[in-house]
């Protein structure tokens, strides 16, 4: 504050310096734009290429023409995929799995985060760290032991878990719950302690404090966690690849790969179309909830 006042007071005398500061800012902006454009091009090239390829026939894709241009645009790939029963099955499987996983994740991680951030009980701090450490273990390490566990479970109970799409409902939360909990712990921690104390004195129990105060106040964080859980379960590839094999049990990312690559024949047009259609739901959700998502991810960075 003092420096700002001093700067204002000495502005007439220090005009050249003031000018150079604005010039610095202009250059900083130019560099920012330069790199932003660079990154935008880098990350948008694959989807653009996918879009171009999805509008071509197989013949045009394999022809030695400019790959960045469509000479005979066609929607045949879209029509074929959207009328194919198996693609619709994958889509439905993906949608059901994602919606369930998101619901399950939020049902577990919101109360968990509330408990870990607000109720001081024996081992709560260790448990909070443990939750985060769980997230750090990659799924590539987990899928083999999980597979083994399912096999043993099958031997003991005769209940078949492998090659059942619904087993994914219990596998995905191992990825989504820790991270969603972690986001929510951070968000809940940024809510002043006096707020729950005020609610406590006003007569609210823990559950009422959570539902009437914490969830509404932490809504941006909640939405961010929801989007995250949805994205993870929608885009999950390794677990469904490992745990499901029959065509009717597959989810979209695995279904596209397994049904559209036959031997060494790649049906590029439909693969690209399938990938684009598959990317649409998260894209639409992001577009609507972008502001909440950013607010959620940056929460706790500054004291609001």
């Amino acid at each position: 504050m003092a420096t700002a006042d001093a700067a204002v007071a000495s502005r007439p005398a220090a005009r050249p310096r003031y000018g150079s500061m604005s010039q610095d800012r202009r250059w900083a902006l130019r560099w920012s734009y330069f790199f932003l454009v660079l990154f935008a091009i880098f990350f948008l090239t694959p989807p653009v290429y996918m879009l171009i390829t999805s509008l071509k026939t197989s013949a045009e894709i394999s022809a030695a023409t400019n790959p960045w241009w469509v000479y005979h645009p066609t929607l045949s790939n879209y029509v074929e995929l959207l009328t194919s029963p198996s693609f619709l099955t994958y889509f439905r499987n993906s949608a059901v799995v994602s919606v369930f996983v998101v619901s399950l994740t939020m049902l577990i991680s919101v109360p968990a985060a509330f408990a870990l951030s607000r109720m001081k009980f024996w081992g709560s701090a260790t448990l909070a760290t443990g939750v985060f450490l769980t997230y750090l273990i990659p799924e590539t390490l987990l899928f083999l032991p999980l597979f083994k566990m399912f096999a043993v479970f099958n031997e003991w109970t005769d209940i078949q878990l492998i090659n059942r799409w619904w087993v994914l409902l219990f596998v995905y939360p191992t990825l989504t719950v820790p991270f969603a909990t972690w986001i929510m712990i951070g968000y809940f921690a940024s809510i002043p302690k006096e707020l729950d104390e005020a609610a406590l004195i006003d007569g609210a129990g823990w559950l009422q404090t959570l539902t009437k105060i914490f969830i509404p106040v932490a809504l941006p964080g909640l939405i961010a966690a929801t989007i995250f859980a949805f994205t993870v379960s929608w885009a999950q590839f390794l677990y469904p690849l490992a745990f499901t094999t029959s065509a009717d049990q597959l989810v979209l990312p695995v279904g596209i790969i397994t049904s559209l690559i036959k031997g060494d024949v790649f049906n590029w047009g439909q693969i690209m179309t399938g990938a684009l259609l598959g990317a649409a739901p998260p894209l639409i959700i992001y577009a609507f909830l972008m502001d909440y998502y950013i607010a959620g991810l940056t929460a706790g960075a500054t004291k609001g």
Partner: protein, 366 residues
């Protein structure tokens, strides 16, 4: 409405003892202020009354019932926090009615109570706004409104004015006093600001290092402090403490400050100080307003002396003068027309009728 009693209350955090077995009786309708420097245990005490902190030892009674293990919501108390703690997603009306809605009061009753509280606090036109659309002072009123509508047995205030700017603080101080005069609910108020304590309280509780130093009306604390801490904490500018000795001079007692400067002890006090002649560690406590410019006619108990002023601070209605005595900086309050100037000598008078003699070792006023 109810009285609050603390019986040998102790609060221990691991190694640290934040509150060390305090006893306090707060009468029905009374406005009691807990005051002290930060870390003295005043907020902890308040939070224990609220039920937000467990009690390590002792008993808390509200309206005659021991509430040690009663959760906050069943203690029938309301609390106003320093940072207001308004629910940001609710309107003012919803904020104020939250407690009543949880208790499933009829809608008409809720509206009646909120309207009444809004009238008392003059926030009727704000009822539909969200907290972020309010100024600091307005938020503070809403926080008080939330407490009033509950019509609790006890109000608890935790430094409610500390987040406001100086001017608003004075204004809200008056508001709080007015509200208390209207609703007459037993109130426990925590602050570190002794001016707030003096102006608001029926009785002030001065706390220091987890103990109660003294309990009394603002006047009692000001004129008859029992310890050096209370004497120094209450009053602004603070009381002067000057190292001194008590000696016998011609049948009477005298307070010797330096070789050149000594004050005769008023006859009324002589017996009190008689036994402390051998005590080498004594402090003379004298408030700045009892060191004034020496007039033509000295009042009873006034002793004139010459002082070399180091610094003068004109305040408008008075001028504060600072001068050294026996290695201590002493402050006096003189008339702005007394001719006090930096670096110049001035004839001052100390009113010994208002003196305090403090045993430095025990910190107690003799």
């Amino acid at each position: 409405m109810a009285e609050v009693k603390l019986r040998k209350i102790v609060k221990r955090y691991d190694e640290v003892e934040a509150v060390r077995g305090i006893d306090l009786d707060i009468a029905d309708h009374e406005f009691v202020v807990l005051v002290g420097p930060s870390g003295c245990g005043k907020s902890t005490t308040l939070r224990m009354i609220a039920g937000l902190e467990d009690i390590t030892d002792g008993d808390i009674l509200i309206a005659g019932d021991v509430v040690n293990d009663v959760p906050p919501k069943d203690r029938d108390i309301a609390m106003v926090f320093q940072n207001y703690a308004l629910y940001p997603h609710m309107t003012v009306f919803q904020n104020m009615s939250f407690g009543l809605r949880l208790k499933r009061y009829p809608k008409a009753e809720i509206k009646k109570r909120v309207d009444e509280a809004a009238r008392i606090l003059d926030i009727k036109e704000l009822l539909d706004r969200k907290p972020k659309q309010l100024s600091g002072g307005q938020r503070q009123r809403v926080a008080m409104g939330r407490a009033i509508v509950r019509n609790p047995k006890v109000f608890l205030f935790d430094e409610p004015l500390s987040n406001l700017d100086a001017k608003l603080r004075v204004q809200m101080r008056t508001e709080i006093k007015k509200v208390h005069q209207q609703v007459r609910t037993t109130t426990v108020y925590v602050t570190h600001d002794q001016v707030e304590a003096m102006t608001l309280a029926d009785r002030v509780v001065v706390m220091n290092q987890g103990n109660i130093e003294q309990v009394g009306t603002p006047q009692q604390l000001y004129h008859n402090p029992r310890t050096r801490f209370v004497a120094g904490f209450i009053g602004s500018p603070a009381m002067n403490f000057i190292p001194c000795e008590v000696e016998e001079v011609g049948g009477g007692l005298s307070i010797r400050l330096t070789n050149e400067l000594s004050f005769p002890v008023p006859v009324t006090r002589a017996a009190q100080y008689q036994n402390h002649r051998q005590n080498g560690k004594l402090l003379l406590g004298l408030r700045p307003e009892h060191i004034t410019e020496a007039g033509q006619h000295l009042e009873p108990g006034e002793v004139p002396f010459e002082a070399n002023l180091e610094v003068t601070e004109p305040m408008g209605m008075e001028t504060l003068v600072y001068f050294p005595v026996n290695g201590t900086q002493v402050c006096g309050r003189v008339n702005p027309n007394a001719g006090a100037r930096d670096g110049a000598p001035l004839r001052l008078a100390a009113n010994l009728n208002n003196m305090h003699l403090i045993d430095e070792a025990s910190g107690r006023v003799i």
